[in-house]
């Protein structure tokens, strides 16, 4: 308490000093304000405090300043140091505690601005900037309602900035204001926003305060008592016919009641404990084929032989020499049973008779068993007919030679 008094005294001294300086330098004439017939106490309000609620403020009158200088001058001159308990920041109108003895005397106190510290009270606009509506008069009726023991205690209702207002929140006490002045921090939260690229450095947002963490106990209490929910505001009641309010909840408020209501506590698994076992070795599987590759089917003629194929006549000598060399027995079998397969067949499936120039007429059923034959599908009976009359010709070396000879047939 003493420290407050000391601070206020220092403030008052600085006010006096500023006031004396203003007298010497300021020559701006001030418009006279309207006079009040019988004012008991005058309270000069700054423009920012002019919108005090009527129930907290006394009947309004207009008090003329005693002189062109600031209205606080008479107070300073009339009384040495009035005990003024000012709460500058939180309330637009600071409570003024008048002296006990002569409280009915006119006391004019310049209320500090909502955002200003106590030192800025001196810098409030001069009286010429005050309008008639900026001054309030406390009538005698109101003064009678004030308890005599505590002196004049004007308590303004705390003005809350509207939701859309960008005004910063006022400090709650003088200590907060002083601490804010000393630290240079105005107490406002740095908004969370992404700075534009060219905006340069920006103050980093403060870390998540513990107050933003939702209290689980409070949330549980709200869940247990849904009927005691806060009444809807007028806006909520207006939005009710059009569905639930679309305004999102503040991000730091935690999960909503609807989200918590849908939370289901899952029980732990009751199954057997997991046991680690050696896993089976991975089976090496062929890599999956590329989706853009299409496997082509194998040729049907590959690895097969035609039953009706016969060896060329000149091969009989070689075959006989081979059998004599290795002493293999010649197996006499019908031609239809001589089907032998080889691992791979040449890609060109031509008729051996046509290739080697031999006709089917040379084939006899008493031919020996052959080990290597070229596979070809069975041919119909009419295929065998023209082979009789065709003359044998040498196998051409190139396809173009065969093509030319065939073209020459037609002329």
């Amino acid at each position: 308490m003493e420290t407050r008094i000391q601070r206020l005294e220092a403030l008052l001294q600085r006010v006096r000093r500023r006031a004396s300086e203003a007298r010497g330098s300021a020559a701006v004439p001030h418009e006279p304000l309207k006079a009040v017939p019988a004012p008991a106490t005058f309270l000069g309000f700054a423009p920012a405090a002019a919108k005090a609620p009527p129930e907290a403020a006394p009947p309004v009158a207009f008090a003329p300043p005693p002189a062109p200088p600031a209205p606080i001058a008479p107070v300073e001159e009339a009384r040495p140091v009035p005990p003024v308990a000012a709460r500058p920041a939180p309330q637009p109108v600071a409570p003024v505690q008048a002296p006990e003895s002569d409280w009915p005397e006119p006391v004019a106190v310049a209320a500090p601005l909502a955002q200003a510290s106590e030192l800025e009270v001196v810098d409030t606009p001069p009286p010429e900037a005050l309008g008639e509506e900026d001054l309030l008069e406390i009538s005698s009726d109101m003064l009678e309602s004030i308890p005599p023991s505590g002196g004049v205690q004007v308590q303004e209702r705390e003005e809350e900035p509207p939701a859309s207002s960008q005004r910063p929140r006022a400090a709650h006490s003088l200590e907060d204001e002083l601490a804010a002045d000393m630290t240079g921090d105005d107490g406002r939260e740095v908004p969370f926003k992404t700075p534009p690229p060219e905006s340069g450095p920006q103050a980093a947002p403060p870390p998540m305060a513990s107050a933003n963490v939702p209290d689980m106990h409070l949330l549980e209490d709200e869940l247990m008592q849904p009927a005691q929910a806060a009444p809807m505001s007028s806006f909520d009641s207006l939005e009710q016919p059009f569905g639930p309010p679309s305004r999102p909840a503040p991000p730091a408020s935690g999960p909503t009641l609807e989200q918590l209501g849908q939370t289901i506590d899952l029980e732990e698994a009751a199954g057997p404990a997991l046991e680690l076992d050696r896993t089976a070795p991975p089976v090496s599987s062929p890599p999956p084929p590329d989706e853009l590759e299409v496997p082509l089917p194998a040729r049907e003629s590959a690895g097969k032989y035609d039953e009706s194929l016969v060896p060329p006549p000149e091969a009989r000598e070689e075959l006989g020499a081979h059998q004599q060399r290795f002493g293999e027995a010649v197996i006499e079998a019908p031609l239809a049973a001589q089907i032998v397969s080889v691992p791979a067949a040449p890609p060109l499936a031509t008729m051996p008779a046509a290739r080697e120039g031999a006709g089917f007429a040379d084939v006899s059923e008493s031919a020996p068993l052959l080990r290597e034959l070229v596979a070809r599908p069975a041919v119909s009976a009419d295929v065998l007919a023209p082979s009789v009359g065709l003359a044998a010709s040498a196998r051409p070396s190139t396809f173009l030679e065969l093509l030319d000879s065939s073209i020459a047939l037609g002329g």
């Binding site: 853009l292 590759e293 890609p347 173009l400 000879s405 047939l409 002329g411």
Partner: protein
Amino acid sequence: MASLPFDPSHAVRFDFARGQIAVQGSSDRVLIPADALIALCAGVDAESRKDFARRLGTEAGRRAALRLGDAMGAGIDGVVEHLGGDLALMGLGSLELERWGRALVLAISGSPFGQGGDELLAAVLEGAIQRAFARDVGVVRLARDDARARFLVTSRNGADDVRTWLESGTSWGEALARLDSRAGRGEA
């Protein structure tokens, strides 16, 4: 002359993202039902069908010639390998080569067109041979069974004669013998 075997790897690419099918070295392809193509070809005149089929064969002959390198000096095996591979990529069947005396006979088995598509196959072979070997040839169908058709490759005049003989009831073997005997006498 030995040639490298036909390698169908990465020959056909299905681009599922863009919905496109491409054969290596050719323009975009379309997968359509074979019977729908036959029905479409049946509605146009014979010359248009032949031009359409020749264009298909030209594509196959061009790719075969590219793979063969020296197409003029390619062996019989190599030509059947690569030309048959390209025709197989087009889904036209499996190509085989037969030599009857001096006559060149190409056989195609497994054609999706069936008997009604032999005319298309003949024109495809004409276009392929003409593009790959720079020879103007005539291809006529000699015979067909359930899954195999034989085509004689000769000159245009010889193809017309053989077609006439076949239409008159001559067997295809007799037609080949007559063609060979006529060439031996120097009447052609």
